[in-house]
Every structure is written in C-alpha cells, then in structure tokens.
C-alpha cells in the first residue's frame, strides 16, 4: 500500500518534472492524473494509486504549497462527486479509460439527468423511456456494434446541463415490472441530436438549472452503465456519493455561511441590535458545532470507523445556510430590502460568496431540495439509522405501468 512518504516523494517528482510556473494548466493536471495523484484512492492508471482516501490531503497540501493549479472542482461537482464513483464501480474498462481523465481535469463537465416532472423524491417512478433497437451496428454519433437505445422523455431541474458535455441518465427500459426493476443507467452525450436543453429560471433570477427534452436520442449500448434493469442499483451509488459530496467539505472556523454575516456584524456596529445578537450567537454556535461534527466524521473515516453522521451533515448545512442568510437579510435592514441583480443568466457555478445576502437567502432554499429533500433524508435517518419501521408501501409489487400517477 502506498503510504504518506511515498505520496510525498511522487508529488515532489511531479513538481520537478512539471514546474507549475512554467507548465500549461491543463498539461499539469493531466500529468498529475497520470502520476496517480488526482484521487489517490482510485486505481493505478485511473488517476490514483490505490492509496487510502485519507492521504489525499498530503498530496493536496504539497501541491497547494507549490502553487500548482487545481482542477476547479466546483465547476464539475456532479462529474467528480457522482459520475466518477459510479463509472469507477460499474463502468467497463473502456468506459473508465474514456471518461475519467477528461472528467477529472475538467475538460468535460457532467450533469445529472435523473429528476422528472412526475418523479422527484420518488425517483424510481421515472417515465423516460429507453427502447432497444436490436441488431446491426449503431447509428448514433459514434459507430459501434451492439445496437442503439432510443430515448424519449423529459427531465427537469437539471443543474448545469447548459455547460455539460456528458450526462448520467436513468431511463425506463421495462414498464411491465415493478418500478425499481425496470430502470437502466446510461451515459448520454449532451451534444447528440434530440437533446434539447432549455433554461429554467429560478427564484434567484438566474437559470442555473434546465429542462431537458429527449426526443429519439440514440445512445449506443456501449454507453450503458451496468446491466439492463439494474439501473436503480447503479443509481444508489450515485445518490450515496451525492450526499457525501454535498456534506463532506472540510471547513475552517467561520468557513461557511456564518463567515459573511459575522464580518458584517463586526464591521457595521450601527446595524447591531440585542435581538439579532442573540440569534447570531445561536447560529454561530450551531455552525461551529456542525463544523466540528463534520470534522469528527472525517476523523472517524480516516480511523476506519465510518459513522452514520454523514446523513446528517447535508441536513445541518441546509438549515444553517437558510437561517444564517435569512438573519443577514434582516440585519442589513434597508439594504436587506434590495437585491443585487435579477438579470437572467446561465451561470457556470453557484456563486454564494460573490453575491449579496438576498441571493444567498434565496439560493440556499435549494439546499434542502437538491440532492434529496430534507424530509426524505430525515426518513432515511429514521429508518436506516434509528431502525424505525418504514411507511407502508403500495408500489413495491405493482408493475410501473399500473401505478397511479
């Protein structure tokens, strides 16, 4: 197994061979990937060295100290956080070779075509159809054998679809079996004919997410991820990683949303009131405790004792982001009555800190919806962590096509 000293040695080697100051950013990132220093817990040849995940910090610290460029992970959150682990677990060797490197270096951005107008929390109820057109070579953009799947349907709330080269897609391939059984997982080329991305403006004024219409989109069978009908199981990997990705960042004290409001408080004595003071301190304590819980969770992982606290982190940060930004809008008084800009834009990423408190307040409302609502996550905690009985279900043994909609 690769240890910390070995990683330090390899990192020094990388830096010597590709001095960041004189190396093109993308070339450096590719060299880093090829050296196995991208995500050290990945296999050799796929950006890693089969090292313990916890040692990533060793590499990151050395590279940061040397002024090396990073792969701007915020720009490809879905790719790095969700598509990659799913491809790693279920992809064929060719798929891993094809997708992981451009994904990691950020040349290819990914989005997630999961939710549909009728299938949000109940994702497994989705109705987008993929029908196999058997025999003969593929007629899709890349000629392959094994035939094509022809996909029709509508996805919604797709973050970043307008910037994405690829999508992870789940579609129904068998309507005659219960809903979880008839789903298959695909990789969709967002540049293919029949993929129509339309901006969906949101409460903040910008169009960060989209509606995606799929009309006779041809996906070669070689872009199927996992077995036919096994899509729900594959999607579980994606969704579990989604929650980790959302809750799993490491923060310094005041590193989250509590930072800007604390700064405002310190710099603007004229805004202070007793009442707001009490609320601010409560939220400051809550933020610090959430940060410590996240750190403890990380230490547990490193020590090989993963705990169920991870399920709580997304819940905690969603609530904190909303309460803190809501407090700041009030704290700002007259300025809280104003907004910075309602212009409809299609941003590349969510810019929480570059915008004002009103934007943070509105955008953070999505934190308890995107990636699974807080209600659904609480159900998961109640059932899987506390072992409470699930609600009675009426959809388990019914063919998808016979379900009430």
């Amino acid at each position: 197994m690769t240890d910390a000293a070995e990683l330090q040695r390899r990192t020094a080697e990388l830096l010597a061979a590709h001095p960041p100051a004189s190396t093109d950013r993308l070339d450096f990132l590719k060299a880093r990937f090829d050296a196995g220093l991208a995500w050290v817990h990945y296999p050799e040849g796929l950006g890693g060295l089969n090292a313990p995940r916890s040692l990533q910090v060793v590499v990151d610290a050395e590279l940061e100290a040397a002024g090396a460029p990073d792969n701007d992970p915020r720009r490809n959150g879905i790719g790095l956080g969700m598509a990659a682990p799913t491809i790693l677990k279920y992809g064929t060797e060719e798929q891993k070779q094809r997708y992981l490197r451009p994904l990691w270096v950020g040349e290819e951005v990914w989005c997630q075509l999961f939710s549909e107008p009728g299938a949000g929390s109940d994702l497994a109820a989705l109705g987008t159809r993929a029908v196999r057109e058997d025999g003969g070579p593929s007629r899709s953009s890349e000629a392959e054998s094994g035939g094509d799947w022809v996909v029709n349907g509508q996805k919604v709330w797709t973050s970043g679809a307008h910037n994405s080269r690829w999508a992870i897609l789940i579609a129904r391939t068998d309507p005659d079996v219960p809903k979880h059984a008839g789903i298959t997982y695909f990789i969709c080329d967002m540049t293919d004919p029949g993929v129509d991305v339309r901006p969906l403006r949101q409460i903040t004024g910008e169009a960060e997410f989209n509606e995606v219409f799929l009309t006779d989109v041809r996906i070669p069978d070689s872009r199927r991820l996992g077995e036919i009908g096994e899509g729900w199981r594959v999607a579980q990997t994606t969704l579990n990683n989604e929650r980790v990705a959302i809750g799993g960042m490491r923060l310094p004290r005041e590193g989250g949303m509590i930072g800007p409001v604390s700064k405002t408080w310190r710099e603007r004595p004229e805004l202070r009131t007793q009442d707001l003071h009490q609320r601010l301190l409560k939220l400051w304590v809550d933020s610090e405790v959430a940060r410590l819980t996240a750190e403890r969770l990380r230490q547990q992982l490193v020590a090989g004792q993963p705990g169920p606290e991870g399920a709580g982190m997304k819940l905690a940060f969603a609530r904190l982001n909303q309460e803190i930004s809501g407090l700041e809008v009030e704290l700002r008084g007259q300025e809280g009555l104003l907004y910075d800009d309602w212009t409809m834009r299609r941003p590349e990423l969510v810019d929480f800190t570059g915008r004002d408190a009103g934007y943070r307040y509105l955008r953070s409302k999505g934190n308890s919806i995107e990636g699974g609502t807080s209600e659904v996550l609480l159900n998961i905690v109640a059932e899987r962590v506390l072992g409470l009985p699930a609600e009675p279900r009426t959809d388990k043994d019914v063919a998808w096509k016979d379900l009430a909609r």
Partner: protein
Amino acid sequence: MSTQPDLLYSEEEEAVRAAVRDLLADHCDAPGVIARTESDTPHDLAAWKALADGMGLAGLLVPEDKGGQGASHREVAVVLEELGRAVAPVPYLTSAVVATEALLACDTGDLLAELASGRRIGALAVALNVAPGGAYQVVRHEGGALHGELTAIADAQAADVLLVPADDGGLYAVDASAATVTPQIPFDLTRPLATVSLDGIPGRLLGDAEVAVHRALRAGAGLLASEQLGLAEWTLTETVRYLKERKQFNRPVGGFQALKHRLAQLWLEVVNLRAAARNAADALATGEDTDVAVAVAQAYAASVAVHAAEEALQLHAGIGMTWEHPIHLYLKRAKADSIAYGTAGVHRARLAELVDLQAP
C-alpha cells in the same frame, strides 16, 4: 382594559373581502404579476384604479366630510388581507394607509380628498424599514425649497405626490414630477422601492413631521400584519392543495404524517396571526391599547408569514424553486415585510418598554 377588542369580521367586512377577492381574481393573476415584475411598469395601475376609484377603497380611512368613506382600520385590514393573498402590486398600504394617515395628522383637506378618491397616489418619503418611533432621514429645507436624497421609498414610482419630512421639522408635499425618482432593485418585486432626490424643489408645508410620520408608520405597521396574514393564508392553502394532488410513492405526499404535522402546525400559527392582526386593526380603529396591539402584531406576524412562505417553497420542492411558480413572489414579499415598518426584534424591544419588561 375594560372592554374586549372585537376580533371577528362583520358582515360588511366580509362583503368587502368578497368584492376585493373577485376584483383581484380578474385583475391580478399570478402569471400576470410575474410578467409585470419584469416590465418597466411594476405597478398594476389598472387594478389600483378599479380598487381605489371603482370601489372607493382608497378613502376608507378618510371621514366622509373630508371626501372619504368614513370606514375604519378594520375594513382596511380586510382589503390588505386580500391584497396580501394576491401579492398585488398596488400602492394601497403606502398610499391609502400610510400617506393618508400622515395627511390625517396634518389636517389638509384638498390633498386628503384627492388620495381618498384614488385619483392621485401618495407616498410618505420615509424608508420602508423605519419602525414607528424610529429615526428617519430628512431633507434640507432652505430658502423655501427642499434639497436632499431619500432612499428605499416604497411605491414612490407610482406616486403623484410625495410627503417629505424636512430638517425644520415640517412635513412637505412635493409634486412627484418635480422630484427625481430613481427605481432601486427591490428584493420584493411587487412593492418597488425608489430613491427620491430633491434638487431645490418647492414644497407645500403640511404640518408637523414627527407627529404625522409616527401616526402613519404606526398604522402601517399595524395593518401590515393583515397583509402578512393574507399572504400566510394563501401559501398555506395553496400548499395544502398541492400536497393533496402531488403523488410520489404511489400516494399523495400530503398523506405522509411528517408533512401533515407541519401543515397543521402552520395552521395554528396562522390562527394566532389572525387574532393578532384583527386586534391591531381593531385597536387602531378604537384608539384603545393601540401601541401594545401594534407591537404585538408586528413582533409576531413576520415569523409566521416568512415561515409559511418558506414551508410552501420547501414542500413544493423543485417546482417551488422556479421563477414561473408564484411562490417566490410570496417569499420575497414575506421577507421584505419582515423588515418593513420595523423588524420583529424592534417591535419586541418597543414592547419591552410598553409592558415594563426592561432588558437586563
């Protein structure tokens, strides 16, 4: 207190409600309001004309001998409930309540009658976040003319006449066309804000600013609670409706006990808010216990309205985050209302003095 406030609605009040609701159903549908927020004319002046002129509602607070309807804050409160329910972009609270109350304190006949008739719209040039009794900006009065800039003036864009406090203690009427009114970018798109600058503009002295502003803001704060009630009610009703229809996991999501309890809890809050808002309206009408009633209503209302709108968004989930669904209008109005005429915290502090519960 000897007598109890009347916390119910009279038949006449219910008749006013029905008429206003009908009118707004025709004039102020949600897609229309959303489209308007993105246009150059954020106010719905047709709806305003129908309410103010057609139904005579702009003059409810003005005695009949001064050209009004001679009704009371109780009827106005019902109108505001309906306007809140529709997040209607009309300058009713600002002109028919706040500016009108300021004029009532000054006893200036002609202008009052004009506002009461709804033919002219008035705006008190005090920032929307100022609480009754709070400090406000004034302009300079020099050589018979007014100079200065005032910010966050609600509905100033729609106003014909601005009521401007000056540094000599007077409240002045200024023709809005003589001032420079520059729209600001409001958080609440249905109650636009503007900066008003006066560059040596003549004003007509109306009376004592402090008295007029205090009276105006107290009525504004007290009756805002009714707007917040209407808003909270709409979001609750609409969310209940949606959750009965929306199916996930082969059943209506409203059937999940986790959601049922939340909505029931919200209903309780709305019930409480109704009592507090009615009490403030009644107290403004009778003049009894008014300061406490207004402070209680405003210390309570904002959290309910914001909570109701936030729950509506969360429970509508993905669709609630979109621009095309009207929930965002309600959330933005509720949040701005929580700052308007003083935050809940400011009203709690005021209450501490009124009921002798001083801070440590």
